[in-house]
């Protein structure tokens, strides 16, 4: 049966029609084979036109439509939905991008823009002729989730998932839950201490039947894909497998460890890091003593291991300005005669944390500031640390403070142990933290389906921000498995078993580990894991016998499009 195709050419309110003669485009394709209908429209995406398309599909008995308009990133899904409303399979829809690729790109040459548009539309028609209806692959999904890391993020995520009747395996490497927060006492903006918050979460988790807390445990193996992921767990000497539908990674951060002699660390006496200082003031009573001497003058050097000009960590660790100001205020309140000197690179106490900065100023803390190309120096004098700075707030004047204690405000660094990251093939950003798919719109998903990330493993976060992301990732992981069945995109690679020689050239090309070798009727052939394959097409060009084809971007279709273009 001959295919009946409808073509819509969009003006985009002038964005296209100001440069491209859309009527000429319409005329040059309306008499092509299979074209039943060719129209121009002011806005293809408008409700009126969408409804007209649905009517056209029914009245003209169309079995495929093409819209030539903006980028498919903007409206591919829109028109696929229109196709479905016209009772067609949505994968029969073909999109031609004539705005970004023609009218905008060739705004300086109207006739050429029109010619190119005609060719693009003809290519789309060529593709449409061979487009087939497709159905998504359905797979069973285990209603359980593994949460890796039982810090505040992991614990909160586990509770959220458990509330949704999902079995949760909370996997923790250490012998107790709580991570860093369990070690902290006073926190900003709350009367609760860090250990109290952890205890509260722990009590909640213990009450739940559907949460298994696995302490002293590490994930050492990962097989399968979204919906059915088999993890090998090593708990002390014992090894066992669990099967989950989704994995939520919340492995957290490590405090930056200063290098030898970085701001005098390890070389000048009485130079410590912020976590060490926090421990010190949380546990000292009465007088603040360090190395047997009373501490009065404390110098804080900010941005150690953060906002480094080059080579190192260029990011801002976000939490440290507030954490330092908070710790300094706590120290001043708890102990007598404390004078705080903050050597900053600009204070970033955003949001409500600004109140803390104001409190610190009012209490008499002194703030100095340097640029990244002229950092403060720390050296020893009479066995005491001295900090020297060219303070930009004092017109670059050289100032110094003889301190009793120098606190290096160390930021958050990614985990140096990469077991989890490499096991799940989680991509890392330039900052070496785990990367989300989209910073703003998909902030907790990874490119690996079914694997979500939350908390400080993704980048420096405060407790509040970590918990926010925990809730988001738990919801996202839950949505993967909630129906018990998963649908995956059918636009993936397929293998022609007859043509496949089993050479294996395609395997290293696949970024998702979706190809493996199996025995089939006495010969070794490649096979695609439908749930792992993303349809990226990396494998197709390397196949010496053209045994691999991409559904919806098949060799026949691509060749047809090229023929139409040239």
């Amino acid at each position: 049966m001959e295919k009946r195709i409808g073509v819509y050419i969009c003006h985009c309110g002038g964005n296209i029609s100001d440069y491209v003669d859309v009527e000429k485009v319409r005329q040059s394709v309306e008499n092509d084979d299979n074209i039943v209908l060719a129209k121009t429209t002011m806005f293809a995406c408008s409700d009126a036109n969408q409804n007209e398309m649905v009517e056209d599909i029914k009245n003209h008995n169309l079995d495929a439509v093409i819209v030539a308009s903006c980028s498919p990133k903007l409206h591919l899904v829109t028109f696929r939905n229109v196709t479905e409303r016209g009772d067609l399979n949505k994968y029969t829809y073909v999109h031609a991008n004539i705005r970004e690729q023609a009218s905008w790109a060739h705004a300086d040459n109207f006739p050429a823009a029109t010619d190119k548009t005609i060719q693009l539309v003809k290519a789309a028609i060529a593709k449409s002729r061979t487009t087939k209806a497709l159905e998504p692959t359905k797979i069973k999904a285990e209603r359980s989730v593994a949460v890796i890391g039982a810090g505040v993020t992991g614990m909160k995520a586990a509770i959220t998932l458990a509330e949704k009747d999902t079995h949760v395996f909370l996997i923790e490497k250490e012998s107790q839950v709580g991570g860093w927060v369990a070690k902290w006492k006073d926190l900003f903006m709350t009367e609760e201490t860090g250990d109290m918050i952890v205890k509260q979460l722990h009590e909640d988790l213990k009450k739940r039947q559907n949460v298994s807390i696995l302490l002293n445990s590490e994930v050492i193996g990962n097989v399968g894909s979204i919906g059915n992921i088999s993890l090998k767990i090593k708990q002390k000497e014992e090894e066992f497998d669990i099967t989950v539908g989704s994995v939520l990674v919340a492995t957290g951060f490590e405090p930056y460890k200063p290098k030898e002699d970085e701001f005098g660390f390890g070389k000048v006496p009485n130079v410590i890091t912020l976590p060490e200082f926090k421990q010190l003031i949380d546990h000292e009573k009465g007088k603040l003593m360090y190395n047997g001497k009373k501490v009065e003058n404390i110098a804080y050097i900010y941005c150690v291991g953060s906002r480094q000009p080059e080579g190192g960590n260029t990011y801002c660790s976000r939490y440290c300005c507030t954490a330092t100001i908070h710790a300094a205020i706590e120290a001043r309140k708890k102990f007598k005669d404390i004078q705080n000197y903050h050597f900053t690179r600009g204070v970033r106490s955003y949001g409500k944390q600004e109140l803390l900065y104001a409190e610190s100023l009012q209490g008499g803390d002194i703030f100095l500031q340097s640029y990244e190309d002229d950092l403060p120096t720390v050296f020893a004098r009479n066995n005491r640390p001295v900090v020297r700075i060219n303070d930009i707030l004092t017109g670059g004047k050289e100032l110094e403070v003889e301190a009793d204690l120098v606190v290096l405000v160390t930021g958050m660094a990614p985990r140096s142990n990469d077991t989890v990251g490499s096991l799940f093939k989680l991509p890392r950003g330039r900052d070496r933290f785990f990367n989300e798919v989209h910073m703003k719109l998909r902030p907790v998903e990874t490119v690996i389906d079914g694997i979500t990330i939350a908390g400080a493993c993704q980048g420096p976060k405060t407790i509040l921000e970590s918990v926010n992301s925990a809730l988001a990732a738990a919801t996202k992981s839950y949505s993967n498995i909630s129906k018990g069945v998963l649908e995956t995109d059918p636009q993936i690679a397929t293998i022609d078993v007859k043509a496949c020689t089993g050479c294996g050239d395609c395997i290293p090309e696949c970024p998702f580990d979706a190809i493996s070798m199996v025995e089939d009727k006495g010969k070794t052939v490649a096979v695609i894991n439908n749930t792992l394959c993303k349809g990226c097409g990396m494998c197709t060009p390397v196949c010496p016998t053209d045994a691999i084809d991409l559904v919806a971007f098949s060799n026949v279709q691509i060749m047809g499009m090229i023929d139409a273009l040239v």
Binding site: G364, I366, L399, V401
Partner: protein, 356 residues
């Protein structure tokens, strides 16, 4: 190289009602100041030095004297740090530092010390009256004599050495070396600024206050001249008598307006009055008032039966001359003009033009 000394700021707070801890170094104060220039910018810099306690930078600076306290900086400070009042406090602190006797600092920081000193002078006046056996003629005679001696002594013993100390701090300690001729060439600036406060006219919203101040300065100096050298209370010359009336009335009227401002607290400069400000303006008011009344009592012939009026005037005068002039706010008359003089000298050395 300077060492940070937070204790400085704690001490400075005894000199005025500012809150420099609130400062987050935005610099709005300097931006809004109509007399701060690129080469000589304030008040943020002075706020910063005060916070850090870089005493050397402050004591060698003339900038506190270059500010005439229009109050714009305090009005526009987003943190209510009150930089204008800080500059005022620095002027008090500098006054205390210039004073070799140390009494200025004592009086600024401790109100009871000022009150005690005032009472001591009162006691002295009563003793004096007692020794003169409450004889009006004798009291008038010695009172007039006292005026002359007090002016000469206070200037020679207190004010002149203090000016030398100011010169030492702002010129020598600051490392400025200029030939003697420069001091003579710049002398013109000293006189202009001393008698006109010309620079204050550059303060944006300040023209009426400047005019009031100008009239007050001339009325005060003229009254001083009229009473001391033209012997207003003893003269028969009608012109001198009327002149004295006009001068004392002007002093009274203008100081009443100043006191009213300080009570109403509408303007930034009048919001944080310190005891030294009150003493200065009220005693000046009383000087005008009592001088006027004493001469009036003479003219309507009732002073003989109201000797207390003269004694009251004498008390005000003595307290003024012995406490407020040498150790109080009066000294700004000298320090401000000398500061402008030194600024001029410094500029002549470096060849930098200073905005007048």
């Amino acid at each position: 190289m300077a060492t940070i000394n937070p204790k400085f700021g704690k001490n400075l707070k005894k000199y005025g009602g500012f809150n420099f801890n609130a400062c987050y170094n935005c610099g709005n104060c300097t931006a809004i100041c109509s007399i701060s220039t690129k080469d000589s910018s304030f008040p943020r810099e002075m706020v910063r030095y005060s916070v850090l306690g870089v005493e050397d930078e402050i004591i060698t600076s003339t900038k506190p004297w270059e500010c005439y306290y229009c109050g714009e900086c305090s009005t526009h400070c987003p943190q209510d740090a009150n930089p204008g009042e800080l500059m005022m406090s620095l002027r008090r602190w500098l006054t205390a530092k210039y004073d070799w006797t140390g009494l200025s600092g004592l009086f600024y920081k401790y109100l009871p010390a000022t009150i005690l000193a005032m009472l001591a002078v009162l006691a002295g006046v009563i003793l004096f009256a007692n020794r003169a056996e409450w004889n009006l003629e004798s009291m008038l005679h010695f009172g007039h004599l006292f005026e002359m001696i007090a002016i000469a002594t206070v200037f020679a013993v207190i004010l002149a050495p203090n000016l030398v100390r100011m010169w030492y701090f702002t010129i020598i300690k600051a490392g400025v070396k200029v030939p003697l001729k420069t001091y003579l060439t710049a002398l013109n600036d000293l006189l202009v600024h001393m008698f006109t406060q010309k620079r204050a006219k550059d303060c944006d919203d300040n023209h009426f206050r400047w005019l009031e101040h100008l009239i007050l300065v001339f009325a005060y100096l003229a009254l001083l001249f009229t009473t001391v050298f033209l012997n207003w209370f003893g003269t028969e010359n009608l012109f001198v008598i009327i002149l004295g009336y006009v001068e004392s009335a002007l002093i009274f009227i203008i100081t009443v307006d100043f006191v009213k401002d300080r009570i109403q607290k509408k303007k930034a400069l009048a919001k944080k009055s310190q005891p030294s400000d009150w003493f200065f303006v009220i005693w000046l008011l009383l000087m005008g008032l009592t001088a006027f009344l004493v001469r009036l009592f003479i003219d309507i012939n009732i002073l003989e039966s109201n000797k207390w009026m003269y004694l009251f005037h004498l008390m005000v005068l003595a307290q003024w001359a012995l406490i407020i002039v040498p150790f109080g706010k009066w000294t700004h008359f000298l320090y401000r003009s000398f500061a402008m003089y030194f600024v001029k000298i410094k500029s002549m050395k470096s060849g930098v033009k200073v905005k007048k």
